[in-house]
Subunit: 351 residues, 2 copies
C-alpha cells in the first residue's frame, strides 16, 4: 500500500516528537512492505512567523490530498498574554478543524500499569480506568458569532448547535460504545442551556435505535467531579466542544500518563492524529520531550487506514519500551533517562 | 444584636441540614446574647409543587428584608430528564441570583486532616491544599439570550460580559488575594473566546493597582488539569460563571470533604449561604445527610455580619466533632455513625 501522509509538525516540541512518529511509521512500512510519502506543511505560530497565516491555504491543500494528517502541537506563549494579537496560532487549529470538517475528537484514556504511581489519584481509584472521551469539535461556542461592542466595554460569544451536528457525533459515540462496554454518558448542562437541552433531546430520541447501549446523562459540573472520584465507571463519554475541551483535558491527567495519550480528530475529508499534550515551549529543541503520545497517535492513524497489524506492531513496541524503561525523563524511574530521539530510534529498531 | 435570617430549605435533604445549622445559630445566639428571627420561605421543586414558581415573589421579599439568607439545596430528578419541562427548580436558583444581585460565589476549599484519606488524590498531592474559588454568578452564558429556532432543529445560548461586571468580581477576588497569600489566578479561554479576552484585558488593566498581588492567567482546560496535579499551587482563582461552575465543583471533590464545604454568594442586596453539595434526593428524610457544610455556611453567614467570635465558636465546634468522630455515615471511620440530627444536637450542646 502507498501511504500519503501530511506532516504538520507545528510549534515548540512539535518537530521533535513528530520526527519520532515518522521513524516508527517508516519502520512499520519497511516491515509490512508499504511505501510512505510525507508532505510537510506549516501550521501554528511557525506558520504565522513565516507566512502570516496559522493555517495557510497551501497547508490545507496538502491535508485535503493526504490519506491522513500527522500533527505535532501548536502554541507559543508570546501570543497568550497579548489579548489584542490579531492572529493567533490557535486560530490555525480552529480553521483546520472547520475546513477539514474534523467534527469529532476521540481521546482514549487508558492506564499504563508501570506508570500508575505517576497518577495524582490514589491507586485504587485510578487502576483499571479505561474510557474514551468523544468531543464535538466544529460547533458550539468556539465557532459561533463573537465580538465586541463599539465602545469595547461589552463582549459576546454565541453557542449554537443543530440537530444534524448533534446526531452526527452521537452516532459516532454510539458506535464506540457498541465496540466497547456498551455504556454511553452524555455530558451536558441541560438544566440551564438551550443547546444542552437540544443535545439531550436528540440523544434521547436516538436511544431507541441503540437498545443494547445503556445511556446516562450527566451535568458537566457533576462529570468534572465524578471523573476524579470514580473514573472507572465511565466507558464512552460524549459532549459538546467546550465541555469536551475541559473534560477531556481533566481526564487526561488522572492516569498520570499525559505524555502518552494520543488522539484522533475524525473528519469529513481526512482525519488528523496528534498527541493531546501541548507544544511545551520550555522543552523545545532540547530533545527531552516524550514522543510516545505522538507515536501512539501514529498507531491510531494506521488503524484508521485499516492497517491493524501495523498499528499493533507500534503498540507492542511502545509497551516493550515502557517495560524496559526506554523512556524520557518525565517518566523515567531510575537509571539514565533517554533522549526523545533515542526513544524513537529504539522503537524503530524494535519494530 | 437582632438577626433576621431568611431560611430557604429547598428540596431533598435541604430541610434536614438547614435545621442543624439553625440549632447551631441558636446555640451561638444564646451564648453571645443575640436574638434571632427566622423567616421560612419556599424555593426549588418544593416551591414549584406548592405555588408553581421555583422562586416566588414572596420568597424574594423575605430575602430582601433579611440580614442574610440560609439556603439548603434544590433539585429534583423528576425535572432532569424532561427536556420539555416548562419550569425547573434550577430556574429558581438563577432567578434568586439575578434578583438579589448575587454576583460572586465564594468557595473556600480546605482540607480536614482527619479526612484526607477520603480524598481521591494521593496524600502528598492534596495535603495542605487551601484555596478559594471566586465564581462570577450573574453573568455569562447562564443569563444570556437563549432559545430554539422555529423548526426546533437549532438551539443557541449567548455569553456576554461587560467591563463593569468583570471589574466588580475581580475587585472582590483581588481583596481575597490581599487577605490571603497574594496570588490570583484568572481562569479564562482567551485564546478562543471574545468574552475571555475582555476578562483578560480587564484583569491586566487592574494589575497596576494591585502591585503586591502576583497575577497569573490560565486557560480553563489547563486549570482543570492543574487543579488535580498541583492543587497546592493555588491561592485565589477567579473566573466567569460557567467555567466557575465546572472548576469549583471539580475543586470541591479533591479534598475528599465535599460534604463539609460551605459557600457564600455575595450580593448587592443581601448574601446567601449554602453548602456546595446538592439536594441528594436519595437520602432525603433519612436523617443521614452530613450537615457540616451547612453548619460551616452558617459560620460564613455570621462572619459576613461581623460576628467573628460567633463564627469561630461554630468552627471550633465542628473541628471538635470531627476529632471526636461525631459524624454522619459518609465520613464515619469506625464505630456507629451519627444521625444528621444527632450531629446538630452535639454541636449545639458543645457551643
Ligand atoms: C488551542 C485550543 C483552541 C484548543 C481547544 O481548546 O480546542 C486546545 O485546547 C485543544 O483542546 O485542542
Ligand atoms: C443548578 C445549577 C443551575 C447550578 C449552577 O450551575 O449554577 C449549580 O450547579 C450550582 O453550581 O450552583
Amino acid at each position: 500500500m502507498k501511504l500519503n501522509i501530511a506532516v504538520l509538525a507545528g510549534d515548540g516540541i512539535g518537530p521533535e516528537i513528530v520526527a519520532q512518529a515518522q521513524k516508527v511509521i517508516d519502520a512499520v512500512s519497511v516491515k509490512f512492505g508499504h511505501e510512505v510519502e510525507y508532505t510537510n506543511a506549516l501550521v501554528g505560530a511557525t506558520a504565522i512567523d513565516q507566512v502570516g497565516d496559522p493555517y495557510p491555504e497551501e497547508t490545507h491543500d496538502i491535508c485535503m490530498k493526504a490519506d491522513a494528517v500527522l500533527f505535532g502541537a501548536i502554541g507559543d506563549p508570546k501570543f497568550d498574554n497579548d489579548p489584542k494579537a490579531k492572529v493567533r496560532p490557535e486560530q490555525g487549529l480552529l480553521a483546520m478543524r472547520k475546513k477539514l470538517g474534523l467534527y469529532a475528537n476521540i481521546r482514549p484514556v487508558t492506564t499504563f500499569p508501570s506508570l500508575l504511581d505517576k497518577s495524582p489519584l490514589r491507586l485504587d481509584i485510578v487502576e483499571g480506568s479505561d474510557f474514551v472521551v468523544v468531543r464535538e469539535l466544529t460547533g458550539g461556542i468556539y465557532f459561533g458569532e463573537k465580538g465586541r461592542s463599539e465602545d469595547l466595554k461589552k463582549a459576546f460569544d454565541t453557542c449554537t448547535y443543530t440537530t444534524e451536528e448533534i446526531e452526527r457525533i452521537l452516532k459516532l459515540a454510539f458506535s464506540y460504545a457498541e465496540k466497547r462496554n456498551k455504556r454511553l454518558t452524555v455530558v451536558d448542562k441541560a438544566n440551564v442551556l438551550a443547546t444542552s437541552r437540544l443535545w439531550r433531546e436528540t440523544a434521547q430520541a436516538m436511544e431507541g435505535d441503540h437498545k443494547d447501549i445503556e445511556v446516562d446523562y450527566m451535568f458537566v459540573d457533576n462529570a468534572a467531579m465524578q471523573l476524579i472520584q470514580w473514573p472507572k465507571k465511565f466507558d464512552v463519554m460524549v459532549t459538546e466542544n467546550m465541555f469536551g475541551d475541559i473534560i477531556s483535558d481533566e481526564a487526561s491527567v488522572i492516569t498520570g500518563s499525559l505524555g502518552l495519550l494520543p488522539s484522533a480528530s475524525v473528519g469529513i475529508h481526512t482525519s488528523v492524529f496528534e498527541p493531546i499534550h501541548g507544544s511545551y515551549p520550555q522543552a523545545a529543541g532540547k530533545d527531552i520531550a516524550n514522543p510516545i503520545a505522538t507515536v501512539l497517535s501514529a498507531a491510531m492513524l494506521l488503524e484508521s487506514l485499516d492497517l491493524l497489524d501495523e498499528a499493533q506492531a507500534v503498540r507492542d513496541a511502545v509497551n516493550k519500551s515502557l517495560e524496559e524503561g526506554v523512556v524520557t525523563e518525565d517518566i523515567a524511574r531510575d537509571g539514565k533517562p533517554c533522549k526523545t530521539s533515542e526513544v524513537g530510534d529504539w522503537l524503530a529498531d524494535f519494530i
